[in-house]
């Protein structure tokens, strides 16, 4: 289940400093808000990831720490078998830790396109940062209660997508759906945002459902259980040693 996903699922962990109602009509400005919606100085969060495939189903519970766009630390809490498995990403490098064999393995570039923990997301998604407004040309259209943002990649943008679309609610200015299209205009995957909750002052969709449309029976659902933003994180969080620490 390897999919190149441009829009960063994991940057969703990093949320904006403050929520503000924004009434600007300019499409680019709105996109900047989308971009910024997913940024923050730091975050700590607990979440559940449910992976559904035709052959098996799993639900992982994880804790994550992020700092800026470069550093990410994720630790799996459940199920039992995978408890303690951890991923550290610093800049463009990534390591995995497996408690059962007590080894830290650097993820080789060839595995970067591989899926993270069997989900529909790749290791690469953790690594690359994408600023949508810098890499896409955007236009806005009003559709009922929502805005539809249409993003077309710029000349030099390295992406497989021909088009990305956001459906954003006019009131909350939070996304409802993000769709990815190939060059021929066929929707290949869709991410649905739902269940807007308040996380320590921040309102954002707690549930994200990722559905690859060209593979039947596959789905990944991420639910935020808890989240805190812009807190001080110690220097020892984003270290290799932390991977192996007892918790």
């Amino acid at each position: 289940m390897l999919k190149l996903l441009l829009s960063t699922f994991f940057s969703l962990c990093l949320l904006s400093l403050s929520f503000s109602v924004f009434a600007d009509d300019d499409a680019a400005a709105l996109l900047v808000k989308m971009d910024e919606l997913f940024r923050s100085k730091s975050s700590v969060a607990t979440m559940k990831m449910q992976i559904i495939t035709p052959n098996w189903q799993r639900t992982l519970e994880m804790q994550s720490w992020t700092r800026g766009m470069d550093d990410t630390f994720i630790r799996v809490l459940s199920p039992r078998k995978d408890r303690g498995v951890a991923t550290l990403k610093i800049d463009k490098e990534m390591w995995n830790y497996f408690p059962k064999i007590n080894k830290v393995i650097k993820v080789p570039p060839s595995m970067m396109m591989g899926s993270w923990m069997g989900s529909d997301f790749t290791n690469d998604d953790l690594v690359r940062e994408v600023s949508l407004v810098k890499e896409y040309e955007v236009s806005k259209k009003v559709e009922g209660d929502n805005y539809r943002l249409t993003l077309i990649p710029k000349e030099n943008t390295v992406t497989v997508w021909g088009k990305i679309e956001f459906i954003v609610n006019q009131q909350t200015l939070l996304p409802i759906e993000q769709s990815y299209f190939n060059e021929k205009g066929v929707k290949v995957r869709s991410m649905e945002f739902s269940d807007i909750r308040d996380f320590n002052g921040k309102k954002m969709p707690a549930i994200m459902t990722m559905i690859p449309l060209n593979k039947t029976g596959h789905k990944t659902v991420i639910e935020y259980v808890e989240a805190e933003f812009d807190i001080e994180l110690g220097d020892n969080v984003f270290t290799l040693r932390n991977l192996q620490k007892r918790f």
């Binding site: 390897l2 463009k92 570039p109 690594v127 390295v158 497989v160 997508w161 060059e183 290949v188």
Partner: protein
Amino acid sequence: MMNNQTLLTITNKQNTHRNNTGLVSRLAKRSIFRNTRRTLLTVLLISCSLTAILFTDAFVRGMVNTMVKISTQTFLGEGQIHQKGFREANDIDLYIKDTPRLYQQLDTVSEIQAYAPRVLAGAMTSSSENVASAIIYGVDANKEASVSKLKLAMTQGDYLSGVDGEIILGEQLADLLEISLGDRLVVTVSEAHGGDLSQALFRVSGLFSFNERTMDIGMAFINLSQGQTLLNITGVHEIALRLQELNQADDKTLAFWTVLNTEQLETLSWQELVPQLSSMLAMTEYSTLIVSVIMYLLVCLGLINTMFMSIFERQTEFGILLAIGTRSKQLFYQIMLEGLFIGLLSVVLGLLLALVLCYWGSIVGIDYSELEMSGLTLNEPIYLVLDVSSFALMGLATLAITLISCIYPALHAARLQPSSAMRKTL
């Protein structure tokens, strides 16, 4: 005086002798054509056998040639140059540096007809639908076309033309990624010296098919300069060579082999690069040898048989000849001469027929294109190879055997008792 009479007798004797030799050969010629059917049958057998053997010889030579050409000219090249150590694990850090000087050197070697520099690395290719691993080759479009069949293998779209962003894929890879001409393709590699991830966007500019699964599903080609940028190197990993003559690859005494094998560089011929191929060829050669020996034995058998038969059937004839006073020696010579004539006639006919057949075969070729052979696809017909030495050798050998097989029956005929020979049995 004795003079006139002696002179006359001597001249008579000489004339008679001359007449006798002339007579024997005239008789030989006449008896051959008297029973045309018998002669025809004999000649036919001998010439057909000769043609058959020569045809097989040409065919096998052609087959071997084709097999070698297919593997070397499709993509491998007749020789390759690498940085020492590269071939063990295809480590992209081990690339040939200082290429301008090397190219100059290659230009001066007369045996090298053309060379194609390449960078190569394992990569992940991603489309909107799927991700697949493949080997990415960065090639110089023109140089590559003069060494390998890449340009000829194009089935859709355009060949590389040096513009960044171009990529050509194998048809099966395109199928796997569910993309077609003009679609986006992102290639991810890890750079040399450090392994940082490097990505670039390409648009599918063309598709190729070598009719070989591993190549069509596992390879993609981009322009050399872009490949070098992507991998962050200034040299190349591999230089494929096309030599003027195929057999120069065997000849390790040629100067350039030593010159191009230094502390840094390793230059190998195709036999060393793909030893399985030479093994397969050795196997084929050996079994061909055995089959040829058997074939030749068969032909000899047929020859001897035919000559025996044709002579033994004419017992009555010989009886009559002996009865009217032909000397045994003369009869022997006559039969031997007949054999010689028949032999010559058959060999000439056989050689001509073989020449026509093999010439046709070398131009038109025999088409085997649906089948793979030894992991290579025969996408070229087999052209027969005429070998003058084979023709000469087989021709002479056949003539020799024909003559030798006449000896016993001729001896037998010469020693016949006229009376018993002429006793016609029913």
